[in-house]
Amino acid sequence: MARRDAVGRLALYGACAPVLAFLLLPSLVIVPMALTKGQMIQFPPIWISVHSFTDYLGDPQWFDSTVLSFQVAALAVAIGCVTGSAAAVALHGRRFPGKGLVTGAIMAPIVVPLVVFALGGYLVFARLHMVGGWVAIGLLHGMLVTPYVFISVQTSLQAALNPLLVRSARSLGAGRLSVLRHVVWPAIRPGVLAGGVLGFAVSFDEVVVALFLQGPQTVTLPVRMFTAIQFELTPKVAASASLFLALSVLVLLAQGVAMRRRGAA
């Protein structure tokens, strides 16, 4: 028996390893390519230099795009957290005709094909003369972030907000606002945080909307990478991509630590 187990396990690992490699390699290959000595993005890279990183950070255009992406993501997360949480709290435990429709409308931005969403956004903001400004991109990204926050806040409401807690608080003298502050907020805080982090990642590497709404002064980092890879093949693309990778690894680690801490508590 034990022997058959061992063989089976080996076969399982043998089958899984290529799949994992297939999933991870395209992301990991970026890092050595950023460490090339050459002036072109190429594989295999010419070992080993960090000049592409210093070039990337030293180039004002690339630097501005990076700052812009952070700016857009920050606005998007701020909007998404407020609207997503508010929607989740408002719908929690309520039943009314048309609730499915409302939920559908909140989820629409990530269900509707992104090009359609981006084109619609473009037409609206063109009318408002806001195309080419970062606020327009931030607002649309905010709509994209909302469903993510909505879902994760909904999950934490279901997990942590016993309706009896609300009733208890009311009977103990808490008005509706106090209930929000002392009972609802502590329950949804982890959900808002998780949704916000995820939303930040969504906005930060979003290309389609950012492409439609770009202007001379508002080229977000992924859009700049996208155009750079077509015209100049600079290793700065790989350098900035490595930055993305580092960011997402950080987020994953932070989530892991948070989960473990919650599990232990």
Binding site: A160, N162, L164, L165, R167, S168, A169, R170, S171, L172, G173, A174, G175, S178, H182, V183, P186, A187
Partner: protein, 396 residues
Amino acid sequence: MNVALPIVSLPAQAEGTPADEVRPRGPVADARHHLEVDRVWKSYTSGVHVVRDVSFSLAQGEFLTLLGPSGSGKTSTLMMVAGFEAPSRGAIRVDGRDVAQLPPERRNFGVVFQGYALFPHMTVLENVAFPLRMKSVGGAARRRAAMDMLDKVGLAEFAARRPRELSGGQQQRVALARALVFEPDALLLDEPLGALDRKLREALQIEIKQIQRRVGVSILFVTHDQDEAMMMSDRVAVMQDGRIVQLGAPDEVYLHPETPFVAGFLGETNLLRGQCVGQQGGCAVVRFADGVTGPARLSRGGARPGVGAAVLASIRPERIGLLARDAAADCVVEGVVADRVFLGRHTRLVVQALGRTLVVSAAEPPAAGVARGAVVRLGWSREDAQILNEGGDATG
């Protein structure tokens, strides 16, 4: 400060009578906090009435239980008193003031739910201090009052813990402390012990009673467990289909049920059909099957059956005695023992008599010599046979 009594280990009698307990109620100590539910209805637009014309009052320091099966309207009634549901009709008064229109946070009731609903992100002390915080009591005073109350329930040393670090019994005490700390007009308890196993349940029942005696608060309690209701209450209101069908002291309701439902819901009983052949004091003389005739107590509120009317009587199994050969009783029946089960504290006999089976719960000494197939003489007194009202107007 440190007069915390280890509640669990206290025998129930060590507390003194509730009347001479000191009530921590400040200047309003002698005001009678009086809760009155007056002809309250709860109806839905679908035409369903979940509470129908319910009236009762709760005196200062009284323990009143709403007892009924699920769907009988007991929880809806409690929720209307607490303010989570609005009555469709009727008034809910505290000291004569109608509170039916006030939101729950502006009423002054301490509510304890099943599972206790303690705030998981707050410490025990913060939980207990919460209602005072909501009433804008200053930090130091709040802390002091919350600590005092924790002291009273014997949990002062657990003040810094989180609720999930406490046992079920300790959590209940925190919930009670939190509901008591702001000196509510009454405690409302909605099946707080519903989800627990029997042993813990019994321990916590005793604890609730002890805390009530110590603090002197009025309690409105909801349960579907008749033993719990009888053990804890000063008065029991039995509910069925949204109505209170009988309200009285536990022994009164148990021994003298007024309807077949109350008789059956509060425990095992023998329902005997018969015919009224006359009246005698507060009793009807009833002829049962086989020509056996005996007096049975009339219910206080019920209609008097006329001579010749069909009646239904309820006799509890433990109220039927095994009679020695020459002993007398108000009503005597002979029967054959069909089954006999020894249950420790008593022996359960199933006796074939009056053309049916009677369940008799007898103490072991008289029941010891009785074997299956034996002929026995059974008897009961006029006080122990209770005439029931069948379905309101059916008795005529």
